[in-house]
Amino acid sequence: MSEATASVPRIASWSGFSQVKLGNREALARAVMLLLGVLLVATMLAGLAIGPISVPVLELVPHLARHIASPVEGAPDGVLLRDWIVVKDIRLPRVVLGALVGAALAVSGAVMQGLFRNPLADPGIVGVSAGAGLGAALFIVLGNTALASVMSLLGIYAVPLAAFVGGLITTLLLYRIGTRGGITSVATLLLAGIALGALTGAMTGLLVYVADDQELRDLQFWGLGSLAGANWEKVASAAPIILVMLFCVPFLSRGLNGLTLGEAAASHIGIRVQRLKNIAILLVAAATGASVAVSGGIGFVGIVVPHLLRLTIGPDHRYLLPASALLGACLLIAADTLSRTIVAPAEMPIGIITAFAGAPFFLWILLRKRGLTGL
C-alpha cells in the first residue's frame, strides 16, 4: 500500500531490506547451522590433536570409531600406545565433556532468556549455577561422611542430582521473586540473583570448614570452573541428563517464540504457558546442574552464544536453540584447549578464560541496551 510506505520515508533509502521475506532469515539460519556443524567437527579434532604431546589425530579417528564399535585391549596395530592412551582416555573424554557442557550452558542460557523475556538472563548471572554449586559441594564434601548413605545409593549420579536440585530450587525462587502477574522485572530478577548467589555462595563457603585438604582442593578448582579431570565416568554421569535436555528443548521452540509476545498473548495463541514454564525451568535446572557438577561454574557461555546468534540468524527459537548447542560446544572445546595450552604444562581453569572473554561482552550488551531494559 503506497500511503503506508510513504508515511515512513526513512526506510525508502534502504527499501531493498524492507522486502526481506520470512524465508530469507530461515535459509540463513540453516546455512549457519550447517557451518556450525562443520566447525564443531573441526574443533573436536583440534581439541584431540593439540596438547603437550602432538598426536596424528586423523590417523587415529578410524581406529577410535572401530574401538567404539567393538572395544579391544591395548593400542591398535601401528599406533603408539602413548598416543592411543592420550587420545582415548585423556583428550577424547575431555572434548566430549566440553561439547556436552558447552551445549548445555548455551542452550540453558537461550531457554532462560526466552522464558524471562530478557537477553541478560543466564543461569550463571542469576544465581542458578551458584545454587547448583551448593548442591554439588554438599556431596563433594559430605559425600563420605554425613551423606554417605545417599552417595552409595546414587553412585556417580549423586553429585549431578544434588546440583540439579540446588539449581531447581534457586530457579523456582527466582521466578517467584522476579515475576509478578506474568511480567518479569529485570531489575528485581538480577538483584534477586545477586542475593541468591551470595547466599548459596556463603553456604558453600561454610563447607570449607568441614572439608579436608583433598576436598578443599577439589572444591576450589571446581569453583573456578574446569574440565580438568574429565574422564569417561564424568561423561557418563552428565551425558544422559544433558542429552535428554538437548532432545526435549526443540519442542519448546514454538512456545518460547510465542512467549516473546508476553505471557497473556502467548496463551491467547494457544500456548499452555504454565506448563511451558514448568518444563523449561526443569530442563534448565537439570542441564545446569549436570554441567556444574562435572565442570564447576563456567560463566558467560549462556549469555554470549545466544546473543551472537540472535544478531546473525534472529531470535526464532527453532533455529536459535540448536545453533546455540552447536556454537556453545565449539566455544567451550576451543576455550578448554586454550586453557590447557596457554600456561602449559600447568593448566588454567577454563572459567577464567570464559570470564575474560564473556564479562566485557556482557558489559557491551548492557551498554547497548541501556535505556531499553528499564534498568
Binding site: 515512513v8 521475506k21 520470512l22 530478557n118 516473546t260 491467547h268 495463541i269 494457544g270 540472535r310 531470535p315
Partner: protein, 276 residues
C-alpha cells in the same frame, strides 16, 4: 465482499454469552454481575470510564482471569476450555504489546498462524494479505521494535487476523475477534480503517467484541453496546437504545450532548469549554 446477513437468534451456540459474570483480582471484586449476549455477525462495543472493569471483563473472557457465573463461547463454558481450543475460536488484540526480542514484522504476524501444515508460500501469502489489510503492506522485513506505537498495534492486529482468518470457516463455527482498545494509538484515518475492518469481519459472519474509548466511533460502528460503570453493567442493548446523551452522561459523570452535523451524522460533544 460478501455481506451476508446472519440472524443471530437462530443459533444460540454461535454466540458469546455472559450470565451473571463476576470477577475478582485477589480479594478485590472488580466486575460484578454482568450479563450480555454477543451474537456472531455483530460488533459489540464495551464502553465506560477508565477503571470501570472493561479490560478486566475482556481478560476473563479470554481465559486470563477466572470468573464466577457463566460465560459461553459457541455453547462451551469458557472456563473449561483449553488455551488451544480457545485459540482456534478467537484471536485477542491486547492493549500494549511489547516484544522481548527483535523479531521482524513478518515473524510477529507468523505467530498467529496456528496451522502448522501450511506451506511456506501459503504462510507468506497470508502474512502479506494480513499486513495489507491493516495498511502495512511491504513492512514484512522491518524490525517490530523500530515501529511506531500505531504500527506496532496494527502489526499485532495482523497477527490476530491470521489466527482467525475466516470469520466462518468450513466447520461452520463463527470465529471471534476480541479487541482491547484497537484504535487507541492510531491516527484518525487508521482508526477508521481498523473499525471498517472489524465491522467487515462481523458483516461476514464473525463476532467482534471491542473495548472502546471513542464514543463517536462506537456510535458509528457498533451493533450492540455494553456500558460499564464501577464494575457494574450500567446499560446494555442495541446501539440506538444505549448511545444517547442521558446514558452516556451518567456513565462518564460528564455532560455529553448529541449533536447532529452535516450529512445527518451524530456526534457526542461536551457542550461547553471544559472547566475542571
Amino acid at each position: 465482499m460478501l455481506h451476508q446477513k446472519i440472524d443471530p437468534s437462530t443459533n444460540v451456540d454461535r454466540n458469546l454469552c455472559a450470565e451473571n459474570v463476576s470477577i475478582s483480582i485477589g480479594k478485590t471484586p472488580i466486575v460484578r454481575d454482568v450479563s450480555f449476549e454477543a451474537a456472531s455477525g455483530e460488533l459489540l462495543a464495551i464502553i465506560g470510564p477508565s477503571g470501570s472493569g472493561k479490560t478486566t471483563l475482556l481478560r476473563a473472557l479470554t481465559g486470563e482471569l477466572s470468573y464466577e457465573g457463566h460465560a459461553f463461547l459457541s455453547g462451551r463454558e469458557l472456563g473449561g476450555m483449553s488455551a488451544e481450543d480457545q485459540a482456534v475460536l478467537r484471536g485477542v488484540l491486547p492493549q500494549i504489546s511489547q516484544i522481548s526480542f527483535p523479531l521482524t514484522v513478518s515473524e510477529v504476524v507468523a505467530l498467529g498462524l496456528l496451522d502448522r501444515r501450511a506451506g511456506r508460500l501459503q504462510r507468506e501469502t497470508r502474512i502479506s494479505e494480513a499486513l495489507a489489510k491493516v495498511g502495512l503492506a511491504g513492512f514484512e522485513g522491518r524490525t517490530y521494535q523500530d515501529l511506531s506505537g500505531g504500527e506496532q498495534q496494527r502489526t499485532q492486529l495482523a497477527r490476530v487476523l491470521c489466527q482467525v482468518w475466516d470469520p466462518v470457516p468450513a466447520d461452520g463455527q463463527p470465529r471471534w475477534l476480541f479487541l482491547d482498545e484497537p484504535v487507541s494509538s492510531l491516527d484518525i484515518k487508521h482508526q477508521y480503517q481498523i473499525m471498517h475492518l472489524a465491522a467487515d469481519y462481523a458483516a461476514r459472519g464473525g463476532g467482534v467484541v471491542a473495548v472502546m474509548h471513542d464514543l463517536n466511533l462506537t456510535a458509528e460502528f457498533a451493533n450492540k453496546v455494553l456500558v460499564m460503570k464501577c464494575g457494574k453493567q450500567l446499560a446494555y442493548g442495541s446501539n440506538e437504545s444505549v448511545m444517547c446523551s442521558g446514558t452516556l452522561t451518567t456513565a462518564y459523570d460528564f455532560q455529553l450532548d448529541l449533536v447532529e452535523v452535516r450529512s445527518g451524522r451524530k456526534l457526542f460533544l461536551h457542550p461547553a469549554p471544559v472547566k475542571i
